[in-house]
């Protein structure tokens, strides 16, 4: 502990010895550290954004799609849903059944006649599967209010009034109660499965249905088992259980890019370390008399080794601090401008690992760069102090 405080004290005194060199060294380290920090931060932020986009447009990680076809004439989707809900593994995180219909809102709503709008009829908790942030209002619930309510995506919200008449096979009225960001350019509406009969009084005979199941592991077997058991008893046949989300592929691709960038960052660090070796050796050369004076008055070899290493580490902390500050500004100020506001994605924050990465990069550069000068300092000839 005492050795530490002493080393810190002499390190602070030492920055006075050659302030310009200290600054140059810190800048050299900063360049290298910044390269590594930029790669990590850009990687993390990009990954966050790209994954969020994919979660919004496709599905969150480890979501499986279960496709079923009707075995007989009277296969009941609701019966299958109930059977599956009872059997689904308890560790699932999301379960939804979807059906799409197309409606034509009345021209009175200010549309071209014949602009089709897709209505997604949703059973279960779809928002546990897809990242569908609400921009305003509420997600439609299973209430029996009339007219039935829907959430509109941005494209649909721009097209439609809060309440409008539409034509399907019959005519109906629909109220829009919320706006949801689903990342799709075509107009979409989302309504609850249980109110669909209010909107579409004559349900079609279903020949196939699709269920999405999100679990917290990458093994589809429990999902397949539950689906097959539920299907057998309700007149359906499981056609396929497939990985639905695209997160794993995105991660792999990003990892490749990030590794390439990280290698570039590592080279920048190495160049910085070589620069520090250079500066360090010439500094030791110039300070040889001072170092032998220190030895004469009682410094051990270890003391001088620690002095030089401590100096470099102090500079490393400065460089790492500056790199984190710059990264923080970049993430807090620059990145939010690049995120479109209507995507309703959370603005990314600086990952805490940045601090660790910066310290690690700067620290290892400092140690690599100052080891040789430190060893040379420790080996200085004491008696040289008498011969000048």
């Amino acid at each position: 502990m005492r050795a530490l405080t002493r080393t810190c004290a002499s390190v602070l005194q030492d920055l006075r010895a050659q302030p310009l060199r200290a600054i140059v060294t810190v800048v050299a380290m900063l360049v290298g550290v910044l390269a590594v920090v930029a790669v990590t931060v850009a990687g993390a932020v990009t990954e966050g954004l790209v994954i969020a986009k994919s979660e919004q447009e496709v599905a969150r990680e480890t979501t499986y799609s279960v496709d079923l076809t009707a075995r007989g004439g009277n296969s009941d989707a609701d019966a299958f849903w109930d059977a599956l809900s009872a059997r689904i593994p308890t560790d699932h995180v999301g379960l939804a059944m979807l059906e799409s219909r197309t409606i034509w809102p009345e021209p009175a709503a200010g549309l071209d006649a014949g602009t089709p709008v897709t209505v997604w009829v949703v059973q279960g908790d779809y928002r546990a599967i897809r990242r569908l942030p609400l921009l305003d209002g509420a997600w439609p619930n299973a209430g029996t209010s009339r007219p039935p309510v829907a959430a509109a995506n941005l494209a649909a919200a721009r097209l439609l009034d809060d309440s409008f008449t539409f034509r399907e096979r019959t005519q109906g009225v629909l109220a829009v109660t919320g706006t949801v960001a689903d990342g799709e350019p075509a107009p979409n509406l989302y309504i609850d499965w249980d109110v669909a009969h209010l909107m579409f009084p004559s349900p079609v005979q279903r020949e196939s249905i699709r269920v999405l199941v999100r679990v917290d592991h990458a093994d589809p077997t429990p999902v397949r088992r539950a689906a097959e058991a539920a299907a057998t008893s309700t007149g359906w046949t499981v056609q396929a259980v497939e990985r639905h989300d695209q997160i794993a592929g995105i991660r792999d691709e990003l990892q490749l890019v990030r590794t390439a960038f990280l290698i570039c960052g590592g080279i920048a660090l190495l160049v910085a370390a070589l620069g520090i070796v250079n500066i360090g050796l010439s500094t030791i050369g110039q300070r040889s008399r001072e170092l032998s004076i220190r030895r004469a008055v009682g410094a051990r070899r270890l003391d001088l080794l620690l002095l030089v290493l401590g100096n470099a580490l102090a500079q490393a902390v400065l460089a790492a601090g500056a790199a984190v500050a710059i990264a923080w500004v970049a993430v807090a100020v620059v990145v939010p401008r690049a995120v479109p506001p209507e995507s309703a994605l959370d603005a990314p924050t600086l990952p805490w690992t940045t601090v660790a990465v910066a310290l690690l990069a700067a620290g290892s550069t400092a140690v690599i760069g100052s080891l040789l000068p430190a060893i040379r300092a420790a080996r200085i000839d004491i008696a040289a102090v008498l011969r000048d």
């Binding site: 010895a17 220190r294 030895r295 008055v297 070899r301 003391d303 008696a383 102090v385 011969r387 000048d388």
Partner: protein, 237 residues
Amino acid sequence: MTATTATLQTLHVDDVHHVVPTVQGDLTLLHGASFTIAAGETAAIMGRSGSGKTTLLSIVGLMLRATRGEVVIAGQPTSRLSDAERARLRNQTLGFVFQGYSLVPHLTAAENVALPLSYGPAVSSAERRAAAQLLEMVGLGHAARRYPRHLSGGEQQRVAIARALVRSPGLLLADEPTGALDVATGEAVLDLLLDVARARGTSVLVVTHDEAVAARTGRRLLIVEGRLSEDQAACAP
């Protein structure tokens, strides 16, 4: 010179040889130097340039290892000590005054005086205060915060004397301490060195060319081509 019990011996040098390899073969710089310095004694080492004075002082000051022989400091044989143990002895029992430019340029006068306190055992606040008083004692209390480049050569040597005494060593070693100074300043610095050493009972071993310097010490050792002898002629009572 009969009181040679170990406790009274600050320094005992026993048959020290020093041989260095050169391109022409081994060169013997010291041929079996032996002498003893008692507590509180002051002595001068004299000799012509190249005779081996600095080499001997480096060995006595534990900055250089003799190729043969023993240096006993404060009763402790030093030839087998590790680097850290020798550093500790330099820090605790030896004080050094060199010819010139021996201050650390980026430290103030006060920080230079306190430099030995940053090595070796923990320092009490009393010792810190004593360090400040030493600067007063050498007449530079007003210059505590000045850097060496703003001090004259004589002032720098006074700071170096204060630094040499900060750990209250038993033996002060000086190599041409007045060599870089004019005569009057040199005399003043030497007076100071010997006065404070006497006042504190510190032994002094000073290397010098200068008869006038040697005349002020209690004893002279003469070194001729690496051979040391007591200079009887000059050792008038």
